[in-house]
């Protein structure tokens, strides 16, 4: 088959088998963005989570696609994985102690859900976050 290759700047061997030396190589598919967007979610005062603290993104690809997601708070945007400590600092719980803000994603063949909760106690005051996502055509 014909192959399309584009070397990185400074590289000279178009026949190299070190594929990392290429910016593009048609034998190795690249990520292609199918869906993208952003949305504001929030946790209301006293809650660990509520109806507004998760958002469902319809992708309708019929399979489970590769995706990337991030959550922004106070001008800082953190990566989101399956579930875990967001590393967002400085949010207090209802007892005045710093709470852990946990972020999560759930993916199925039609939807990507992105959500957040405070653990173990509710937040002292309403907190809003911006979530952003890139969903690929490419299948996991």
């Amino acid at each position: 088959m014909a192959v399309v290759k584009i070397l990185k700047e400074g590289e000279t061997n178009i026949d190299s088998t070190d594929i990392w030396r290429f910016n593009f190589h048609s034998d190795f598919p690249t990520f292609k963005i199918a869906e993208k967007g952003s949305h504001e979610i929030s946790i209301q005062t006293g809650n660990t989570a509520d109806a507004g603290s998760a958002y469902v993104i319809l992708h309708e690809l019929g399979y489970k696609p590769i995706f990337f997601a991030w959550i922004e708070y106070d001008g800082k945007s953190y990566p989101i994985y399956g579930e875990g400590d967001s590393q967002i600092k400085g949010i207090l719980d209802e007892y005045g102690d710093e709470t852990m803000i946990v972020v999560y994603t759930e993916l199925d063949t039609d939807n990507l859900t992105i959500g957040v909760y405070s653990a173990p106690y509710g937040v002292q005051s309403t907190k809003s976050f911006i979530i952003r996502w890139l969903i690929m055509i490419d299948e996991f």
């Binding site: 088959m1 399309v4 584009i6 990185k8 700047e9 594929i19 990392w20 290429f22 910016n23 593009f24 190589h25 048609s26 034998d27 190795f28 598919p29 690249t30 990520f31 292609k32 963005i33 199918a34 993208k36 967007g37 952003s38 690809l61 399979y63 489970k64 590769i66 995706f67 990337f68 991030w70 922004e72 001008g75 800082k76 945007s77 953190y78 990566p79 994985y81 399956g82 579930e83 875990g84 400590d85 590393q87 600092k89 852990m100 946990v102 999560y104 994603t105 759930e106 993916l107 199925d108 653990a119 173990p120 952003r132 996502w133 890139l134 055509i137 490419d138 299948e139 996991f140």
Partner: protein, 253 residues
Amino acid sequence: MNFNMAVLLIAKKTKDALSGVEKDLAFSSNRSCMIEMFSDNIELTTNGDGNGTLEITHNLGYVPAFFMFEKGYLDTLYWYPQYAMQVYATTTKLIVKANCLDANTTYNIFYSISGNRQDDAEGSGNNNVSGRLRISKSGYDAETEMDVRNMRFISGKNVPKIDEDLSGSVTETINSDYPYPTLITIPHNLGYVPVCFVFDSDLGKILPYTVPLYGGASMIHHVDDTNLYIEARSGENPESETFKYIILRDKIA
């Protein structure tokens, strides 16, 4: 999608570019790529309190898509997806912080910062398009556009390269005994440490996945220059899980 324009479609090996099945394509000018603007493998050394900060300036003027891998906290031999470090992006920088990790210790960090915004929105004001093969987003002129946010592909920058022969899936029964996880080893034999992503297809969770407070499941992957490893522990009972993994030819180290 504008089908009145000429399109460039490149099929995956053994697939038909004209089949109409987009996931069979290695490349499509109808879709935006993730365009890597900056990447590097750098060190972060903590102070006597286990704290340290790296500031990586990108100056894009917006919050870019990014991902990060780290080595040295959970294990000194393997690269993990960002886990122990705090990392966040602002409109000008990527900030990596060690907060109360091991004192006076050097950790390795690999980062990849895209030209894409995190929502792939368009914009103006930058002059950062390079390369001779340029494909713009709809409504922009590929010959004159200068802001990478308005481009679907530029040949002057790297795009991720998936090795479909090395990527695949594996099904295993996952141990529930704390703290002993099930370890799955997947050879890649590339001779360098590749970027890779892992997804638990049964739970719908991309790794790492750690339920922090309820003694629940914990799953993370790590990689070296020979193998990809998936380290997983289920919740209360052993569970059969199918993991799908994507191995890129792009290099962490």
